[in-house]
């Protein structure tokens, strides 16, 4: 008995034919409440859009309002490998082929012909400042050439395998772009230096840096943002491992040495430095 009654109340709740109620409301009641919520939410959406619009008006097109989180620019390598691990076997082409392809893709904008076409030759070893004169923006801003050939043996032009096939792989290092950053004072260009972590120091062997000393030339700075400086070419440094120990994990850390970039926080493993693992199997 009780169960029947319960059943019918449930049914009644969903559709009550006597009062013509669906889920406890009549059609007009449903209509009113839905209309109310529709109008209410449209109003809220309008209000939200208005506040967002006002906020976006306050933003500068060329420079974000705050940059305090980018005090120490990050560093990154190419190829990235899988979660910063580069493991391959020179004998097995398929194990390193994708690294070479990644680098090919990554370096194609740096082809000398493209650079010459889009970018200027700048005066090296000094900042390429293109100031605005007051409210008049000096746009678009020009960028300096970074020719692929600067990477020499790591440019992939002569050695299309970037040394991967003979166990002397190239890794390309770049410094994250930060608008307006000046990475060195007194004409001292920042440079990259790599080393093995403690226990691996024996295994790393010799390294070669391209361009010479692994410097990022000052003429590539400051960066003016992708809107103003459309064709900006981020400077690169390539390192080549000349006789790394085979068949063992080698943990490598590269850092930027500069007299104006503050050391990053301990928690951030990629601010002003980059670590990765390299293992060449045979």
């Amino acid at each position: 008995m009780a169960k029947d009654a319960e059943k019918s109340t449930w049914k009644d709740f969903i559709w009550n034919p006597r009062t013509r109620e669906f889920c406890g409301r009549t059609a007009s009641s449903w209509g009113l409440i839905l209309l109310f919520y529709l109008v209410f939410y449209i109003f809220l959406a309008g209000m939200f859009c208005l506040t967002m619009y006002v906020m976006l008006q306050t933003l500068d097109d060329h420079k974000p309002t705050w940059q305090d989180r980018l005090g120490t620019p990050g560093m990154m390598i190419r190829p990235r490998g899988e979660s910063m691990e580069i493991i391959y076997n020179p004998q097995m082409t398929e194990s390193w082929d994708m690294y070479a392809k990644t680098l090919d893709n990554f370096l194609s904008p740096y082809n000398n012909s493209l650079q010459a076409e889009k970018n200027d030759e700048c005066k090296p070893d000094q900042y390429f400042v293109q100031a605005d004169s007051g409210d008049v923006k000096n746009n678009p801003k020009r960028s300096c050439q970074f020719n692929r050939t600067l990477l020499e043996v790591c440019s992939g032009l002569e050695d299309r395998t970037y040394g991967y096939v003979d166990g002397k792989p190239c890794i390309i290092i770049k410094l994250n772009r930060v608008i307006g950053m000046l990475p060195g004072t007194d004409g001292q260009a920042p440079f990259v230096t790599c080393g093995a972590k403690k226990e691996d120091s024996e295994k790393i062997g010799e390294l070669a840096y391209y361009p010479k000393n692994g410097t990022f030339n000052l003429m590539y700075y400051p960066y003016y943002g992708k809107k103003a400086q459309v064709n900006y070419s981020q400077p690169l440094v390539a390192i080549k491992f000349l006789n790394i120990t085979l068949n063992e994990d080698v943990n490598i850390e590269c850092r930027i040495i500069s007299n104006s970039i503050p050391p990053g926080s301990e928690r951030d493993k990629f601010a002003g430095k980059v670590s990765f693992k390299l293992r060449i199997n045979t």
Binding site: M47, H62, R69, G74
Partner: protein, 985 residues
Amino acid sequence: MVDFNSIVVMYTWHTHCFSLSPSHTRIPTHTRYLIRDGPNCLTPPPTTPEWVKFCRQLFGGFSILLWTGAILCFLAYAIQAATEDEPAGDNLYLGIVLSVVVIVTGCFSYFQEAKSSKIMESFKNMVPQQALVIREGEKMTINAEEVVAGDLVEVKGGDRIPADLRVVSAHGCKVDNSSLTGESEPQSRSPDCTHDNPLETRNVAFFSTNCVEGTARGIVVCTGDRTVMGRIATLTSGLESGKTPIAKEIEHFIHLITGVAVFLGITFFILAVFLGYSWLEAVIFLIGIIVANVPEGLLATVTVCLTLTAKRMAKKNCLVKNLEAVETLGSTSTICSDKTGTLTQNRMTVAHMWFDNQIHEADTTEDQSGASFDKTSITWGALARVAALCNRAVFKAGQDQLPILKRDTAGDASESALLKCIELSCGSVKQIREKNKKVAEIPFNSTNKYQLSVHETEDPNDNRYLLVMKGAPERILDRCSTIIIQGKEQPMDEEMKESFQNAYMELGGLGERVLGFCHLLMPEDQYPKGFAFDCDDVNFTTENLCFVGLMSMIDPPRAAVPDAVGKCRSAGIKVIMVTGDHPITAKAIAKGVGIISEGNETVEDIASRLNIPVSQVNPRDAKACVIHGTDLKDLSQDQMDDILRNHTEIVFARTSPQQKLIIVEGCQRLGAIVAVTGDGVNDSPALKKADIGVAMGISGSDVSKQAADMILLDDNFASIVTGVEEGRLIFDNLKKSIAYTLTSNIPEITPFLLFIIVNIPLPLGTITILCIDLGTDMVPAISLAYEAAESDIMKRQPRNPTRDKLVNERLISIAYGQIGMIQALGGFFSYFVILAENGFLPSILVGIRLNWDDRSCNDLEDSYGQQWTYEQRKIVEFTCHTAFFVSIVVVQWADVIICKTRRNSVFQQGMKNKILIFGLFEETALAAFLSYTPGMDVALRMFPLKPSWWFCAVPYSVLIFVYDEIRKLLIRRNPGGWVERETYY
């Protein structure tokens, strides 16, 4: 249904009928009996072990959901630990935090409960009772607990009976059985077996009743739980008391919220798996949704709100034993009140006097503020002298400082009443008695129905003796031949007798106990000085006396009761009187306190007014009715329902404990929430059965206090009204508090949903959600418990438990659908502001999540072409969490202000709630503390905000306030309109 009679049958009743042999007085084996029967005390009701109570707090309510979340966190961490080299500690950390949260809130509720039960414990700390027993011919005083069956016990006036006794000898012994039967008249005890029913017979004295006067010796027949009292107590503990209304409401609400949380969690878990997230990620989403959905702090808030109210009530003399009972009183729709002690002062007081052929009214108020009568009449002097002299009651020593009415007396209730009356109006009774030395005395007995004494006169030259007599008025009248009017003796004629009869009837009709008084100055020639009066074999005249007057006594109503009953009535609460007393007395008191209001008549009243038989009166015409216990016995369930439904003013007289239960059950059957007040053991089954049992703190027996949910420390019915008011207020305020707390669930849950669906960086983390629920929201939510009522809550009907829910769909609609949505937008706005100002414009955010949360992607490009490492953008993300959190605090400012009222404008209500203002500052300070304290970036991953980010949500806060003020304005303008129907919670 519990059968009270069966208990009586079960009792080993033959013990009071068999003959006694001398051996019964010398049983040496008491230790053996003690071991066999156990100590002579009532087994306390089985208490739940502490650890069970603790576990209930730890695993009840939302805790299960949070435990699930914590276990999922640990599982996720375990999987991560097994598969990754450097597992992120986030999940482990969150799991620990969740466990701590559950344990801390569990402990909090547990200690809260322990605290309130401790107060109750303090009631039990009474001085251990002693008993004087005669064992093996030796008198010794032992602990009452050690008394065993077969002991010979001696009791005297003022003692508590240590066990069920069969009386073997008695000298003027009277016992007060009121704690057992509710009858306040002392009953005499003698060794004769007068009745088959042990409850009626004269030779049994019951455990825990009081010996009022005289002495008696008796053999213990039953001890501990086997006594009549013990059996009633067992009956009480066998009764299931139902869940309190607020407990049901909260349970309903927990089910609702849990259902929503589980539904959303599971839906998004499945959705996440379909969208291509890994199992681990899906589990983490699940945890997030659960945490966001559960108002973690709410149960603690409810507990605190109830505790605060309980404390406030304790200040007003209502001690609440069970926290949840705080609200029950507020939803009470029927109060079944005991008469003696609750509605009345529980002390006999002289109410009327008849002398000089006129009824005079005495002052019965507690503080002697009432009208007085003419005390100059000589007749009054004579009456006072008789009342003072023919009276064995005396004040106990050492109470000279106390007001007369507060003093303790030794003697029966009527004599004490007379004593106090005379002491008040004529000065020291002791002096009167010293001046008129007592020469002889015949104490009251039931065959004579009078008491007399012979005294010397005040005048030393007058050697006559004064005979004074008091007793049942008709008996006294029979012995009188003259009557004193205006100080002059006149012969008692028919006219006078008629007038006496009228006065006697009138006073009796008021439910008062009437005594007649007469005196005689004995002629000196017959009774010269030194005459030896023999009281056993009366050798002097007791006829042809001079009638002086009548005095009538009643246990008068308490001063505050009529007002309180009136308040109950305007609050829609029906007050029913249930008493063991006589119907006439009950009706008189009911009229006196307004339970039967002026102008309302019972069927009998109508019958006597119209001079027709009772059967011809239409019962519908009578709103009031007085029902005798014996009639109640014959009523069917339907008739009972009919009476309860159709009469607004009901008095039940001469009721037994079982009938009290029937009455309570009848009211509950009609859907009423019933409060029962009572003090005796006989009330305890009804107290337990009631939705809220109210025991008396001063006069109440232990059993009744144990069965009750609430104790009136001052035994005053008026305190119940205060309780009702507080209970109603807390229900309203809990609604507000819950509306406030639930609102912030929407800004907590929407970030997760958008995170999963449109792949934006997570706007609000689980830790920050916990910071809101358990940190910033707590004090403002609690502060709403201090909010003053919006209107006179004692002028509206009690809430209907089936319709007026604590959390209803309108509350959810407002909290989730409207205010919550505005809050969520406020939070999202500050989230977008921070990301945009840091370089991530809204346009690139959609779908960015995959790269954003990739640890190995350390050159993620923003809208300006800058590149970010994982840690750098996570700091921005956590800053967003902090800003979202702060925005919720900002919008909750407006929320707490709008939640202050449900109908009135805030401008009408004012900002008088200091705790709430403190709460506003506290939550803001806490938010600033969490954001700016160094080290918080590591501990809670909260980062300092730029000052401008605090203001992002302010427009939304203003919007909430304006929106709700408009809504409330519409509710006030159009009562019963669409806005009220859809949004008034």
